[in-house]
């Protein structure tokens, strides 16, 4: 091996025995792979996940190597549009293997790096491939909890790789030093390992940065190493914000969070009443947040982003300075409204569909239909299921729609019953249906 290769590459494990940690996860993966020899298992895919630098990609490569599989790999540096995926997979499966191995594994690395725009349709295609595949599919991701991965997760055996422990990282660093001919103070290695927070690769990179070309490595040499930036989570940000004693402190939290401003506003909004029990404080904080929102509106309308700093002043310092009583800890909540919105998504679409029908039939706006007509229909449906049934038929409402309007199962049943009755009468009587002129 060339000396000019970065250590992280140079010391990447080639064999299973060289891999440190995560023993249980590895054996689960091995068992699953071996089960393919007895036919297609229940789960045709494995989703490997874990933070960066714990060896996901390496593990897949090593196992494939040891068990004699050929890997067909696609990662974030490849275009992963649906048609692209199909093409690559098809080609790979059709040509006979050059290596005469016993089989192939499809490996989708970095699936959380799929681009929304450039890789359109990619995720759905992967789901499709998993459902059809006759060979093992392995995927790797850092964060598989995004809702868009839900189907994938359900289809897969999910295996987690944990961050490595400090002593595990130290052991590997020690081996590297030995092979590079460096005498390393264990304290120095421990410092590097600790700073890596379980990310082995970054530890090796840091080691190379401080130790390459040296004979000795002391604790002192390690002092200059910079700690990687791992951001505060939103809970810490909120705590810092609400406990801030000065406007400056409150403003400073922004620089330490990766959270979008709109999202942060939602978190603040959600948690204000839990943090501020005193009405005086609550109003003051909301007044500030409301003013901040006014600036956001102005920014949206004028596209003048220089107004952003005022919005943020108010949303951070303004909210924080509303506090008169001492800070008390609160268990911060995820913005409930977002949950409600995502849960109500299908109901919203249903409502929209109802409004559209009403609007078209009686020549009003959808907004009017929602605010004025639907409540009226509710009254009629509850009080007079027969009249309601006739209207429901005229508007061609289905059970879900009626249910949304009445919000009451019994009432819906009554309407449906009446609708069936009308249907039967119609068949009997062959009466000419009412046909309005303007529909």
């Amino acid at each position: 091996m060339s000396v000019n290769v970065p250590w992280a590459e140079k010391y990447r494990p080639r064999r299973l025995v060289e891999i440190v940690g995560n023993k249980k996860a590895i054996s689960t993966l091995m068992t699953w792979l071996k089960s393919w020899e007895k036919g297609i298992p229940n789960k045709r895919a494995v989703l490997l996940y874990g933070p960066p630098g714990v060896g996901k990609t390496t593990l897949v490569h090593v196992i494939a190597n040891e068990l004699g599989y050929e890997l067909i790999e696609l990662n974030a540096s490849d275009i992963r549009r649906a048609e692209e995926l199909e093409r690559v997979i098809a080609r790979a499966l059709n040509t006979s293997s050059l290596f005469g191995t016993k089989g192939r594994i499809i490996f989708f690395d970095e699936i959380d790096g799929m681009s929304g725009t450039e890789d359109q349709g990619g995720l759905a295609k992967i789901v499709d491939i998993i459902e059809r595949t006759r060979i093992p599919v392995i995927m790797a991701a850092n964060d598989p909890w995004d809702p868009k991965f839900r189907t994938l997760r359900n289809l897969s055996l999910v295996i987690r790789l944990n961050r490595l422990r400090v002593h595990e990282v130290m052991r590997i660093l020690g081996r590297i030093c030995m092979s590079e001919g460096i005498k390393a103070d264990p304290a120095a290695l421990k410092a590097i390992a600790t700073m890596a927070e379980g990310d082995l690769r970054s530890a090796i990179n840091d080691l190379q940065a401080v130790a390459q070309g040296r004979k000795f490595l002391t604790l002192e040499d390690v002092q200059g190493l910079g700690r990687r930036i791992r951001e505060y989570d939103v809970f810490t940000v909120l705590k810092m914000l609400f406990s801030a004693r000065t406007a400056e402190e409150a403003k400073a939290v922004l620089s330490r969070s990766a959270i979008d401003y709109d999202m942060l506003i939602q978190w603040i909004h959600e948690n204000l009443p839990y943090q501020y029990k005193d009405p005086e404080e609550l109003w003051k904080a909301y007044d500030a947040l409301s003013r901040a929102d006014v600036y956001f509106g102005r920014i949206r309308r004028t596209q003048n982003w220089s107004l952003l700093s005022y919005a943020l002043d108010l949303a951070t310092a303004g909210v924080a300075m509303a506090r008169k009583h001492p800070y008390h800890f609160v268990k911060y909540q995820f913005p409930k409204r977002l949950l409600m919105l995502s849960r109500a998504k299908s109901a919203r679409q249903l409502r929209e569909a109802i409004c559209k029908r009403i609007a078209r039939q009686i020549h009003v706006s959808k907004r009017y239909a929602n605010a004025e007509i639907i409540p009226l229909l509710k009254v009629i449906f509850e009080a007079n299921p027969m009249m309601g049934a006739k209207i429901a038929k005229a508007l061609d409402l289905n059970k879900d729609m009626i249910d949304l309007i009445t919000g009451d199962e019994r009432c819906t049943k009554a309407i449906l019953k009446n609708m069936r009755q009308i249907e039967e009468e119609k068949e009997e009587g062959e009466r000419k249906p009412f046909s309005p002129l303007f529909t």
Binding site: G297, A344, H363, I373, P375, G388, T439
Partner: protein, 330 residues
């Protein structure tokens, strides 16, 4: 038998069937006779027959072919002028069918458009003037920009008289076999404020409850109102912000109401004689003023829920002050 809402069922189909608005009808018939129509602007209060007249005119102009020659748009749904442009373009591209050489575009609630959007509309009107005529419908003509006004023949729809409205309601009640009392009529007049569509809707809702009396009218109207509005206000005044906000979210998310819808209902609730919200007069005024301020902030701002939450927070404060002053008064 299926049945659409009475307001639609009893909508006049021809110009002749329109019993009021004689002036308007007379002028429109002239257009029909000449088979030529300028751009039109129909203005007047809600429920005075503007949309009805537009549809009847279209019907008389195009006869059976009317569906193919009329495009109906509502400005409060199609806010983006871009959409309007595209739909109009798409629509005007094909030649008008039948004896009339142009198509018709009915734009309802045109006064809801921003003046920028109206400027763009005006350009569209010019562009397609050969193949399309616009009929703009508005409550407030003064909110239509001058250049559009001057391109349109102007029609003012007068408010309905009590007599006209009553005779229509009685006619419908009779046809539908509904018992309708005099106080019932008066109650409908009160809640509908001369708006024919609203009056008929109210009649139907009350009829669904049985005999139409003052009582059933108010009951129907009460049932139609989301109870969450007054609940929300009362919770806030009692100091329970979290649950008040919960109600707010229900209104916005479950009922699909916009911030403006809600603040209007709040406003109505606060001034309604029958409201469950009991407030001293000066506090009521203070709240009205607050409603005005919040409405303004919603227009300026971007997130209705935050603005309305701020409103609730202030109500909590007002409620607290109120309780304190009551206590100290004792």
């Amino acid at each position: 038998m299926s049945e659409i809402l009475w307001a639609e069922k009893y909508r006049p189909r021809t110009l002749d069937e329109m019993v009021n608005q004689e002036d308007v009808v007379r002028r429109l018939k002239e257009f029909v006779r000449e088979r030529n129509v300028p751009h039109l602007l129909f203005a007047g209060p809600p429920g005075t027959g503007k949309t009805t007249a537009a549809l009847a005119l279209a019907h008389e102009l195009y006869g059976e072919e009317w569906r193919n020659n009329v495009l109906e748009l509502n400005a409060s749904d199609e806010r983006g002028i871009q959409t309007i442009r595209e739909r109009v373009k798409e629509y005007a591209r094909t030649v008008a069918l039948g004896r009339v050489p142009f198509k018709m575009i009915i734009l309802d609630e045109a006064d809801n458009m921003t003046s920028d959007a109206q400027q763009a509309l005006r350009r569209i009107m010019e562009l397609y003037t050969a193949t399309a005529r616009f009929c703009l419908i508005a409550n407030y003509p003064s909110k239509i920009i001058e250049p559009i006004q001057s391109r349109c023949a102007f029609f003012r729809f007068r408010p309905l008289s009590k007599e006209d409205l009553f005779s229509r309601l009685k006619y419908i009640a009779e046809r539908e076999g509904v018992e309708l009392t005099e106080e019932g009529l008066d109650a409908i007049w009160e809640v509908s404020a001369g708006d024919m569509r609203r009056a008929i809707n109210t009649l139907q809702a009350a009829a669904a409850l049985g005999k139409v009396t003052a009582e059933s009218v108010y009951k129907a109207v009460g049932m139609a109102k989301p109870k969450e509005v007054s609940e929300m206000i009362n919770l806030a005044l009692k100091g329970d912000f979290v649950n008040a906000r919960e109600k707010l979210r229900e209104l916005m998310i479950n009922y699909g109401l916009s911030g403006t819808d809600i603040i209007r209902q709040v406003h109505r609730e606060i001034f309604s004689a029958r409201s469950s919200i009991k407030l001293p007069d000066d506090v009521r005024v203070e709240v009205a003023d607050l409603v005005g301020e919040i409405d303004y902030r919603m227009v300026e701002g971007s997130d209705d829920e935050i603005q309305l939450s701020a409103f609730l927070a202030k109500l909590v404060l007002i409620g607290k002050r109120l309780r304190e002053s009551t206590r100290s008064a004792i």
